[in-house]
């Protein structure tokens, strides 16, 4: 069950971030996470894949695997934003389309990143999450 997948990955992330009680340590960790991001292919870094509403640029692509799961690739021109994207990809990538579309992403709250999720936050994490869900919802609709 990929719902369970998303949920257990969230738990993993929460435990990981519990180690840090300082914001700078969290950011340090985010910077590391950004380095492992599954990179979007250079030719796909077009306006089509650009997410609006960010101070930094974020490109995001979604593909369907043979087993019907969704895989994300992404990039950003800002390092911390890349870490945020990396975190989202790590939690969601490889899950079922429907599970992604409906996932309850409580981990963002738990690790204190909800303030980065506010729609008024300039990094556009909110737009990013919205876009991931949209991709997944579109795939899920096609699959059913």
């Amino acid at each position: 069950m990929s719902e369970g997948l998303i949920s257990s990955r969230q738990q993993e992330v929460i435990e990981e971030f519990e180690l840090f009680d300082d914001w700078m340590d969290k950011y340090e960790h985010l910077i590391e996470l950004g380095k492992d991001i599954p990179a979007i292919q250079p030719h796909r870094k077009t306006d089509d894949h650009l997410i609006k509403g960010c101070q930094s640029k974020v490109w995001l692509a979604a593909d369907e695997t043979d087993s019907g799961a969704v895989e994300f690739t992404a990039d950003s021109d800002a390092i911390i934003t890349k870490g945020l994207v990396g975190l989202m990809v790590r939690v969601l990538s490889g899950a079922d389309a429907r599970a992604i579309a409906e996932a309850d992403l409580h981990f963002l709250d738990a690790i204190g990143l909800h303030q980065h999720l506010s729609p008024t936050r300039s990094n556009g994490l909110a737009s990013m999450v919205k876009q991931m869900r949209l991709y997944a919802a579109a795939l899920a609709a096609r699959q059913s």
């Binding site: 506010s118 300039s122 990094n123």
Partner: protein, 412 residues
């Protein structure tokens, strides 16, 4: 609910610091609420707390204070949307007040949509804020501005309304939800339905309704609804425009500047989405936050309790004032908010108002920014108006009646 509203002032008067003060050595009796209501401590302290502890410019800031301020300000927008039953939060646009909101529609919608073939319909009981902006845009576009009649008792002439809709086929109809001079509550839902059937858009001026009535813009089914915070226990310098999303989306922006753009260059500028498209520049952040607190306060007290309390006060005032010789109440519609206008035979409202002030009582005299209504009713010197709020007591009204009696005797 009945019990709760009977005890209402007793329960809430201590929330209002100003009600402790004296005027000319006498306890203040504040009966000028239709001009502006007093503020509960929560509003005053909320604004202070914001300015002392988390003030920052909003929206584009990546730092913590900017984030806190943005969340509080946008949270207030959400509270307004919920309070008036808007379908979408982004249908609520912050403005400088009702006047600013009506000008926004008259200018942004009106200049894009009105031609010399068109008519805008308003009523003879409108506040200048719902007349002059239309006069200005109609003059520019060569469009016609037509007023609906008001009957003797201060109700709107609904037959005239129906025939104006039919005869003039207006593109826009603007009317007060409640009149600031007469107190009359108009049947806004029916009026919107009729206007819609006639193909007109509707703008409801809710300035006097927000402090007194439950408002549900989807039930009213108006296209635009405006109100101002300072009359509803909120701060000065702030109000809002509600507009149906589709209208707001198709309207061009009005003010240009920061926040309302997506990107700017000398080659061309693209505008932001709703509601920001209509909110150029740094908004009144502390005001927005404090207005949200004012709505919380009202909802805590219960709008129905306030309505019910004020209805009782109006009944009491009508009865008590009836005992004074030569006094005539202007506006005796069956459904009224807490507003009582009056004139006394042969006496100037200004004299009466001054002599009430001398006794510590704040009332308003004159045309109340409804000159066309005063002309229509043949009241050249205007009226004396007492207007009530949640904290107004029967005793205050009794004191005002005694003070008025004294004033009349001095002047006769």
């Amino acid at each position: 609910m009945m019990m709760a509203s009977l005890n209402l002032p007793e329960r809430i008067r201590q929330d209002f610091p100003i009600l402790q003060r004296k005027v000319h050595g006498k306890d203040l009796v504040y009966l000028d609420n239709a001009a502006s209501a007093q503020k509960p401590l929560a509003v005053i302290e909320g604004q202070r707390e914001y300015l002392s502890n988390y003030h920052a410019n909003i929206h584009r800031g990546a730092h913590h204070l900017a984030q806190l301020a943005t969340e509080a300000f946008e949270g207030a927008r959400g509270k307004i949307a919920t309070h008036i039953g808007a379908a979408h939060t982004e249908e609520v646009v912050f403005t400088g007040g009702s006047t600013d909101a009506i000008n926004l529609v008259a200018q942004a919608w009106g200049r894009a949509n009105l031609t010399s073939d068109d008519t805008v319909l308003v009523t003879r009981m409108e506040h200048h804020a719902n007349i002059v902006p239309w006069q200005m845009v109609c003059a520019e576009k060569g469009a016609k501005l037509v007023p609906v009649n008001v009957l003797e008792d201060g109700t709107l002439d609904l037959d005239d309304y129906a025939s104006c809709l039919e005869q003039h086929q207006p593109k826009m109809v603007g009317f007060v939800h409640a009149s600031n001079t007469l107190g009359t509550i108009n049947p806004v839902a029916e009026m919107c339905a009729q206007a819609k059937a006639a193909g007109a858009l509707t703008l409801v001026d809710g300035s006097q309704a927000l402090p007194h009535l439950n408002i549900d813009v989807q039930a009213i089914d108006c296209d635009f609804y405006v109100a101002t915070a300072h009359k509803a226990y909120g701060p000065t310098g702030l109000g809002f425009l509600y507009g149906k999303k589709s209208h707001l989306e198709s309207m061009p922006p009005w003010r240009g500047g920061g926040e309302m753009i997506e990107s700017v260059s000398f080659e061309g500028t693209t505008f932001n989405g709703l509601p920001h498209k209509f909110e150029a520049g740094t908004p009144h952040i502390s005001g927005g936050i404090a207005f949200g607190i004012a709505l919380d306060w009202m909802n805590g007290v219960g709008t129905e309790n306030i309505s019910h309390h004020e209805t009782r006060l109006v009944e009491h005032a009508h009865a008590a004032l009836g005992t004074l010789k030569g006094l005539q109440i202007i506006g005796t519609a069956p459904h009224k908010v807490g507003v009582v206008s009056l004139v006394v035979d042969g006496l100037h409202p200004y004299d009466l108002g001054t002599l009430l002030d001398g006794q510590g009582m704040a009332v308003r005299t004159g045309h109340h920014c409804t000159e066309p209504l005063m002309q229509h009713l043949g009241l050249e010197s205007g009226t004396l108006r007492m207007s009530f709020a949640a904290y107004t007591t029967r005793e205050e009204i009794d004191r005002a009646v005694i003070a008025l009696d004294r004033a009349i005797n001095m002047l006769r």
